[in-house]
Every structure is written in C-alpha cells, then in structure tokens.
Chain length 243, copies 2
Amino acid sequence: MIGCRCPVCLSPDPRDRRTRASLYVDDGVFPFLIDTATDLRSQCLREGITDVGAVLYTHHHADHILGLDDLRRFCELRQERLPIYGPAMTLEILARMFPYAFDAKAQAAAYVRLLPYPVENAFPLGKLTVTPLPVPHGQVTTFGYLLERDGRKLLAYLSDCQAVPEEILSAIRSVEVLIIDGLRDEPHPTHLTTQQAVKVARRADARQTYLTHLTHHKSHRDREADLPAGIAVAFDGLKIALD
Amino acid sequence: MIGCRCPVCLSPDPRDRRTRASLYVDDGVFPFLIDTATDLRSQCLREGITDVGAVLYTHHHADHILGLDDLRRFCELRQERLPIYGPAMTLEILARMFPYAFDAKAQAAAYVRLLPYPVENAFPLGKLTVTPLPVPHGQVTTFGYLLERDGRKLLAYLSDCQAVPEEILSAIRSVEVLIIDGLRDEPHPTHLTTQQAVKVARRADARQTYLTHLTHHKSHRDREADLPAGIAVAFDGLKIALD
C-alpha cells in the first residue's frame, strides 16, 4: 500500500506484492478476462497476454474497471469491437465513464471499441457456459461467474462479496475450483473474512479453493499457514490448470 | 506495448520499459502531481512517494487520468480533500467519470475526495507560481504548466501537444528545464515529433530539455544518440533537481 511500511508491504516475498484482482481465462478457443483491473497493461505485459476476446465484468468499482482503455490493444490486434458482459448497471456506468468506447460511429482502429451485453442468465462463451452469480457487496450487487463445460463445473469466481446466498451455494456446489473474496481476518462491511470464505468453500464442497482480493494485513506465508487443506492463497501470476 | 515483440519492447534496458507520463514535483514544501497516470499506484510504490497535496491536470485523455482513484491513499494520509486544478472541461469530465470523488456529502475518509478548481490564469501553489499553457492536441486543448519561483522559470511541462503557439514560446522562453512531447520521429496528427520538439526547445532557449510521451518505435539509447547537447530522453524514475 502506498506510504505503508508494515512487514507485508516491505516483504521480499514477491507474492506479497499484489496488483488489483482480475482473472484471465484461456481455454485454447476463446480467451477472455474477468474485469479490467487498473493494472491491466502491466499485468498483460508481465504474463505475456497477447489476446483477449471478451470481458466479463463483476461490478463497477474503480479497481475492477480502470484498465478498460487498455483493451484498445486487443481491439487493434483483433480488428474488432470486443464484447463485454456484466450487470446492466455496470455497463451503463462504463458507458457514462468511457463514452468514446461505445460510440458505434467511431472507426479509429487504434482506440478501444466495445459492444455491451447486459446479462442476467447463463450464456455461451466459446465452449464454456457462463452463469452470473449475483452476490451482495455493500451497496451494490456484484456478479460472480460460474464457468462450465460439458456438464463440469470448472470454476467459480466470487471476487467481491460480503455473503454467499443459499441459491448461489447450490449453483456452485462441488465446483472444481473456487476463487473467492477472503479480504482479511478482521470483519469488513462489504467483503468476506478469511474464516467466512473458508466456511463458504466447505459448504460449497469446492475441490480446490483460492482466496483473493487480499489486504496487506497478513503475509502470503502467514495466511497459508492458517488455512486447511484444499484452500490456498492466490497471488499475482498464479496459473490454475482446469484440465 | 502489449503483444509486441519489437526490439524496444523486448529490450533489457529498463529505460525502455515505460509507464504512462506523469510528473511528481516536490519542493520540500508542497508536493503535487501533474496528472494521475493509469499506473499511479505502481509508480508511487516504485518511487517511494508517500505524500501528494494536489494535482494539476493537463487534459482528460485516459492515460493521464485513470490513476485518479489511487489518490484515495493521499486523502486518507492527509485526512483532507485534495485540490485538483485544470481546464474546466477536464474537471467536468472527471466529475462525470468519478462522481463519488466530488460528492461533498461523502465523509468516508478511506475514499478519494477531491476539490476541483478550474483554472485559466496563473495561480500560487506552495511557494511556486503555476501558469497554465494551453496548447493544441488533436480535438482538444491541453494545458502545459510553467512553474516559477522567485522570478525564476524553473520548469515547463508540455506533455501532449502537436504545436507550441508563439505566445506559449514567449511564456517559457529561457526556462531552466523543459519537458516536452517528443512522441516519435514519424509525424503524428496530435503529438510533436522528435525534430519538432527539438526545434521548440531551441526556439524557447531552454537550458535543459527532456523528451517525454514516447513510443516504442526507437530505443532510449538510439533516441539519445540522435539528439543535440542539452536535449535528453526522459525515462521512468528520472529525477531532475531544480535547485
């Protein structure tokens, strides 16, 4: 954190240097992002990401959207408008913030050009089926997403939530990989604590769980030491094989 | 650049790894930023910047503003709303994009809280006098800024311009340090080329000039090799002593 000299902010462990939460999904057919974190450009350069075909947005908070303009490069490489999916309110806010990105008349291939698709129900994306998972997060409802293929529940992503309602628990039950908000040990009005996230993971019977959207209150190593088997701590650059 | 494998993008020279253009001015009395580049958080962490008391905005293009939300940390450390200065249109666009940052009723100290001051003429900032320098940049007029103290023209910053009008040349004449848009060698509709920037620097009789807002078309080393004495190439982390 800027201007902080706590042991985690000064830690030499690269896993304690965190940029904003985001996920890149590449199934070899249709690569896409969940959110465009403010750090999107440096994240793409760091991970060698050279293609993005779409974005799923969870919600409109600054840390999840301010990399949007850097999608321009993927529009340029693909020579097309990128489809973006998310809650209707999120897409409306993005259109208010970045009107030039949604201007159908704008033809400059070097600029970001987006096609908004508000979603509420499951929809296909490449070979996957994507199901929005509405969850409470302070004053807003954010979307988590469940990714399925051939009847397998491959991945559930719930980056910003203060609770996981029963119907969402049912939807993600027995998911192979769960990535879930586990902000810190201390309670927070809009995010799950570590222990709340662990409880959700157990109730959902997730095969493997990763905690994300983490603060500097505890080091990566100390966090992992406190977690049960099957639950780990995500870090920048973490790669998860789904096959 | 994302998805580029040119020699500059693959260069091992750290000066060839460029984040978005921005400037931090610290006169020991009142530290401030010119623009909040998308990379603001990582730039502050990299340079150990722990205090910002104000921001001067040049214009509203994405690369110059999308770090705005990261000012929250400086609001929190100072326990105050940060004043921001710039063209009226820029501040209006920022208020449309980030309404929560300008909401006088919002009291949450952990969020970004700004006080907008549209400027046209010279104004005091700490011990400095700041003069806006309107310059053309495609469809918009951007502000450069001249910083003066005790009658000395310390610094002129002109990060985005396609030309420098005569009255601006007069205003910055004999400036000690000029930082100026020198995008690339090839012409561009909204930015100065290297040669155009060199010509402005000579006509302004700047003591020392740095080119900024640079593309990946040429390495830092090759750029510098082509420049006359008194004109250098800026790079991430460059520090300039004004005293």
